[in-house]
């Protein structure tokens, strides 16, 4: 089908309502990209941008240096766009949902209404959380904060999108980032105007139409001069998701005196006990501290996915800018995680801090891989890195691969890492006080992760703590 024909066809159906159950042609091709752009009514510059990425993709090779290996992905066998599911396809009630999933929800203490939303049960408009969202929306509008799906931003705020999209993760970046640039479907767009403090934690949860953003999510957050925003991504509850490959791109831009706090809790399907199935989470996250005194802080709790492969990074361009990375990665059964960060110091007096906690159990493999690069012009810069690994059993692995580069005499890099198992004495102490083995381990592990957990926004932190315990269930003994 030629693009011309395609256009006609769409016109015929009109795609705001009829689009349900409408899928892009299978496979990765120019046609697919034109289709996605068409469906989203994108302006020409956006389509050109996508096609440029696609052309670049043709010469790029899939990276293979990472520790977790995966079977080759057939990119021609994927659907790159499918419209949100209609009510008909969704489970009718919670009775139709996998009881295991419900069990986890109950353990996390998620209210019934929310359980329905998460498991994709068709919900009545009355039950939907839209009303909450609209109240928030009004408050944001008052302050001039833009928070909308990126596809909407492309229509309504093309200047901002044009200026910043791809400015942190360029088109010609690595394979998965470029793939995302070519075929991304939706994601969040946030713009905080100068000298504004965003009055609430922004979360995909409150974004209308947030469900099923698809496997190629694109997020762009811009904090203008003197502003502050805290953004939450994901959810502690396991998400139902049919897509195996997730290659999202997240770009953050902080201008002078601005601060962005980005928190992630990722708990996608990790595959079953034997390591069958599960999501590949290959995400590119990068933030640029463009302005003086700017700050970007990444916090992540990674407990899900069969393979997690991501390095949320900070490019510290502005003088006195600060980059932070707090991470907990928990792998159990056959899960694999290769995660860490990059702190690239370019401006003077830049500071970065990395706290990484890795926990492996079962047959899992957990790698911290990070780069700290202090350039020759980044005078008086500082980095502090701490990565601790906890091993449970001798079938799992914990690895630390830091790259440290210091190119000037006034800067300091400090790195330390330890690997150990849970202290027998601590366990014994807990047992003595009446905690059973599992409770004791959960308590100790939570203590091990405390430094990172306390970086999370309050309501998230409580849930994340529970999640940490649940993720390790069955690994003790």
């Amino acid at each position: 089908m030629k693009s011309e024909e395609l256009k006609n066809q769409e016109y015929k159906y009109g795609f705001t309502t009829e689009i349900e159950n409408f899928k892009a042609p299978k496979g990765l091709s120019e046609k697919t990209i034109r289709f996605i752009s068409e469906v989203k009514k994108e302006p020409k510059w956006m389509l050109d941008w996508r096609l440029k990425a696609f052309n670049r993709l043709k010469v790029l090779k899939e990276p293979n240096w990472q520790k977790p290996k995966y079977p080759k992905i057939n990119y021609q066998d994927l659907y790159y766009y499918s419209a949100p599911k209609s009510m008909k396809d969704k489970p009718k009630s919670l009775d139709d949902v996998d009881p295991k999933l419900i069990e986890t929800y109950n353990k996390l203490g998620i209210p019934l209404k929310e359980q329905k939303r998460l498991s994709g049960v068709a919900v009545d408009a009355v039950f939907d959380s839209v009303s909450v969202a609209t109240t928030f929306k009004g408050e944001l509008d008052k302050k001039g904060i833009i928070f909308c799906p990126i596809s909407e931003a492309i229509q309504k705020h093309p200047d901002l999108v044009k200026k910043y999209l791809g400015s942190v993760i360029p088109l010609s970046d690595h394979y998965f980032a470029t793939l995302n640039s070519a075929v991304f479907t939706d994601g969040s767009f946030v713009y905080i105007p100068p000298n504004t403090r965003c009055p609430m934690e922004l979360s995909t949860y409150f974004r209308i139409n947030a469900s099923e953003t698809g496997q190629f999510e694109r997020t762009l957050i811009i904090a203008d001069k003197g502003s502050y925003v805290s953004y939450l991504e994901g959810c502690t509850a396991p998400m139902r998701d049919e897509n195996q490959l997730h290659a999202a791109n997240v770009e953050l831009v902080a201008l002078d005196d601005a601060e962005i706090k980005y928190s992630t809790v990722q708990n996608w399907y990790p595959g079953d006990k034997d390591g069958v199935g599960g999501i590949y989470n290959f995400v590119t996250k990068r933030g640029a501290c463009r302005g003086r005194n700017s700050k970007i802080s990444w916090t992540q709790v990674e407990t899900g996915s069969a393979i997690t492969w991501k390095y949320p990074s900070c490019i510290l361009q502005g003088d006195n800018s600060v980059g932070e990375f707090y991470s907990i990665a928990i792998t159990n059964n056959y899960q694999k995680a290769d995660t860490g960060t990059k702190m690239i110091h370019l401006g003077k007096n830049t500071k970065s801090k990395i706290i990484s906690k890795g926990i492996s159990a079962g047959q899992a493999d957990n790698t911290y891989r990070g780069l700290v690069d202090i350039g020759p012009k980044a005078k008086n810069s500082r980095n502090y890195t701490q990565c601790d690994s906890l091993l449970m059993g001798n079938k799992c692995g914990a690895h630390t691969v830091p790259y440290l580069r210091n190119k000037n005499s006034s800067s300091t890099i400090e790195h330390e890492a330890t690997t150990s198992k849970i202290n027998e004495d601590q366990l014994f102490y807990c047992n003595q006080r009446g905690l059973n083995q599992e409770e004791a381990v959960s308590l100790i592990v939570n203590g091990f992760c405390k430094e990172v957990l306390q970086q999370l926004p309050m309501e998230f932190a409580v849930e994340a703590q529970k999640l940490v315990s649940i993720s390790l269930e069955g690994s003790v003994g």
Binding site: W65, P376, S389, L391, M392, G393, N394, K395, C396, G397, A398, H399, T400, V401, P402, Y403, L404, R405, N406, K407, N408, S409, S410, S411, T412, I413, E414, H415, E416, A417, T418, T419, S420, K421
Partner: protein, 414 residues
């Protein structure tokens, strides 16, 4: 790559036709990829291809081993003498030891060097190796005095390449202290050495490497060793003064209770590039490894440390430690580190630390308030920084000698 070399295979001794055939084959294999460059993960921080092509052209193999002068030997402590000239064994004097207990001879056969293909330089070595020495200490014999290998390089080595292959075997319950002392004239040459070490049950090998003066050499050395039950290996790497020096150590702790210590104190000055890469493989329980790498970087020097601790799932109770510290004294200097842990056993104590930065301002201030001038204060701190390495050498006479030779270098710091 081909035009970089001008190798005369006829002048390399091969014991038979097959060997000379193999040499040519290996050389072709080497030419396919050439010298390793930074695309290779192990050479990420040291682009050897760039360094060699920038500094060398028309590289030929050395055929001249003539030597007439008298080598100025070390008088600070008694020792056995072994002299190598341009990598070839010239003479040995093992007078302090009982007869027949320590053997050293020219290594002829390259057997046992076949399985270790870790980089392309291995092909080059197999193609052009002139052998080296084969050192063996008999069972239950503890060497009375250290052996010093005077590794002498003559003045006519410009644009030459020397490929060496050495073997060291320390048999059951024996002990050896081996000091490698490099002396070279002003010529600019490449040396590519592969060394194999076997440390048997209960044996101890102490290895010290140092360089007498600054030199224009571009050295690569790969040391691979296997350690048996309760054996001990200690390697002290001290300032080389070479333009380029990469030492790659791959130790396998194969049996229980073996221990491996690698300590290095380097003081790098103008146009020097030094890399230490280690891989300690813990394959058995209850082993210990300890690495401490210290670098002082001046001028536009570049220091690199890549270390890896691998712990196999059965290697419980492993105690492994890795520390790299660098003092960067000049903005042109650079320090890169990649301290890596790969651990599959849970009941272990593994940690690493790495830091790089300048001298502690407060410490300098403290010293200056006590009437020590800035320059002297800095030197004192540098000395203190490096001295920590020497403290681990138990033999007092050797320690004093090493401290003395480092002190001379520190005095040269501007």
């Amino acid at each position: 790559m081909e035009q970089l070399f001008n190798i005369d295979f006829k002048r390399i001794n091969s014991s038979n036709d097959k060997e000379s055939e193999d040499r040519k084959k290996n050389f072709e294999l080497f030419l396919k990829e050439g010298f390793p460059n930074k695309k290779n993960e192990n050479w990420k921080f040291s682009d050897l291809n760039y360094i060699i092509t920038k500094n060398f052209k028309n590289i030929t193999n050395n055929v001249d081993y003539k030597f007439h002068e008298k080598i100025e030997s070390i008088h600070d402590f008694d020792h056995n003498k072994v002299i190598l000239v341009n990598g070839s064994l010239k003479s040995s004097d093992l007078n302090f030891e009982e007869k027949g207990k320590v053997k050293i001879e020219t290594l002829k056969s390259l057997e046992g060097f076949h399985h270790q293909l870790n980089n392309n330089l291995d092909y080059l070595n197999k193609a052009l190796s002139i052998g080296g020495f084969n050192l063996e200490v008999q069972q239950n014999y503890k060497c009375k005095k250290p052996i010093i290998i005077y590794n002498y390089f003559t003045a006519n080595l410009d644009n030459k390449i020397i490929n060496n292959t050495n073997k060291i075997k320390v048999s059951q319950n024996s002990e050896l202290t081996l000091i490698e002392y490099n002396i070279s004239e002003k010529s600019k040459f490449i040396k590519n050495t592969f060394e194999k070490i076997n440390i048997d049950r209960g044996a101890v090998l102490k290895n010290i490497v140092l360089q007498r003066t600054k030199c224009n050499g571009y050295f690569y050395k790969s040391i691979s060793g296997i350690q048996d039950f309760n054996s001990s290996y200690q390697n002290f790497i001290l300032s080389s003064g070479l333009k380029f020096n990469k030492i790659e150590i791959d130790m396998i702790l194969k049996k229980e209770k073996s221990s491996c210590h690698i300590l290095s104190g380097l003081n790098l000055s103008k146009e020097e590039h030094q890399e230490i890469k280690t891989q300690i493989n813990h394959l058995a329980p209850n082993c210990k490894s300890y690495q401490k790498i210290k670098n002082v970087l001046e001028s536009d020097s570049k220091g690199v440390y890549q270390g890896k601790i691998f712990v196999k799932d059965i290697a419980q109770k492993t105690d492994a430690y890795q520390l790299s510290k660098a003092l960067i004294l000049n903005d042109q200097a650079e320090f890169n580190a990649k301290p890596e842990l790969e651990i599959y056993a849970d009941d272990v104590k593994c940690s690493h630390g790495s830091s790089s930065g300048s001298l502690d301002e407060e410490a300098i201030h403290y010293l200056m308030t006590r009437g020590i001038e800035l320059k002297a204060a800095k030197k004192l701190l540098i000395k203190g920084f490096l001295n920590e390495i020497f403290e681990n050498i138990p033999e007092e006479k050797i320690r004093t000698f090493l401290e003395k030779s480092i002190a001379v270098q520190i005095d040269e710091i501007q």
